[in-house]
């Protein structure tokens, strides 16, 4: 029974961060801020939910292969997500996406003047 409470708490924490990320993704005013908000989903949101699932697979199902596969999924999400975020942020800036309200500090635009 104690393990059930722990799993519930982990899943609720993950869901709260997923909700925060989705709200930021819908409501934020410009493209780069939306990217920042979406990082919440792929870090603590996914990790919380998958950690709950991992505990369920270990202590309730008792299945090693399921647990290992969940660990692989979490590892994949964590390792590959920053590469995509970096690539798309740079691509969006190079393609001319700018916030409506100009940024106060913009060293990238100053140094590469484009």
């Amino acid at each position: 029974m104690a393990i059930r409470i722990v799993i519930d708490i982990l899943m609720v924490v993950g869901l709260v961060f997923c909700l925060a990320g989705v709200k930021g993704l819908i409501k934020m005013p410009d493209t780069f801020s939306r990217m920042q908000a979406s990082t919440c989903i792929s870090t603590l949101g996914a990790i919380g939910v998958l950690l709950g699932g991992l505990l369920y697979a270990i202590f309730v199902m008792g299945s090693a292969s399921t647990a290992v596969k969940i660990v692989v999924i979490a590892l994949m999400i964590i390792v590959t997500n920053p590469i995509g975020a970096h690539s798309i942020a740079k691509g969006a800036y190079k393609a001319g996406v700018r916030p409506e309200k100009p940024m106060e500090v913009d060293d990238y635009g100053r140094d590469f003047n484009d």
Binding site: D30, C40, P82, H86, A89
Partner: protein, 173 residues
């Protein structure tokens, strides 16, 4: 194109084989043989892109301990702090933001260390690394920051990556 070296192939083969075993989780001899063949082919093709320096540097116990300490203690603490901050901003109406792109200096020599630090910065919500440049033997990152509290230079660098850089330096230097 760099040449393929034998230790690099062995290290990449071990990595691919471990991944195969993790995904299939089946220890019959046929599965292991098929995995070994596929891993060897993948290692022969990709070893020269994966490993540029020494292949087995991670077997040094001090560096291994540093890596485990970084992955289990240093990075999750920063991650949770940044996540809570970002969630507050999101639930607080998305108005409390002040975005900007700052240029911060980085004192790391190894290129694996630079890649690891850049990916760690990108993975913490609130900061995204946009470009890595090098001027006069000093590496600079251009970081998009959701709440610019200090202009470019040392203070911004300390606020963005203070603890992370110390942890990475223990692993790679």
């Amino acid at each position: 194109m760099p040449k393929t070296k034998i230790p690099a192939v062995i290290a990449t083969f071990i990595l691919c084989m471990a991944f195969w075993v993790l995904i299939t989780w089946n220890f019959s001899s046929q599965e292991l043989l098929a995995g070994a063949v596929v891993s060897l082919a993948a290692a022969l093709f990709s070893a020269r892109f994966m490993i540029h320096g020494k292949a087995f540097w991670l077997l040094n116990p001090a560096k291994l301990f540093g890596l485990i300490y970084y992955v289990l203690i240093v990075f999750p603490v920063e991650l949770v702090k940044a996540n809570v901050d970002m969630a507050k901003r999101c639930f607080g109406g998305c108005k409390n933001i002040n975005p900007g792109i700052v240029k911060v200096p980085v004192d790391l020599q190894s290129e694996y260390g630079q890649a690891m630090l850049a990916n760690s910065i990108t993975l913490t919500p609130g900061t995204i690394t946009m470009e890595v440049t090098e001027e006069d033997d000093q590496t600079y990152y251009y970081v998009h920051w959701i709440d610019v509290s200090a202009p470019s230079g040392k203070e911004a660098g300390d606020a963005i990556k203070g603890a992370l850089e110390k942890g990475v330096r223990r692993v790679f230097e």
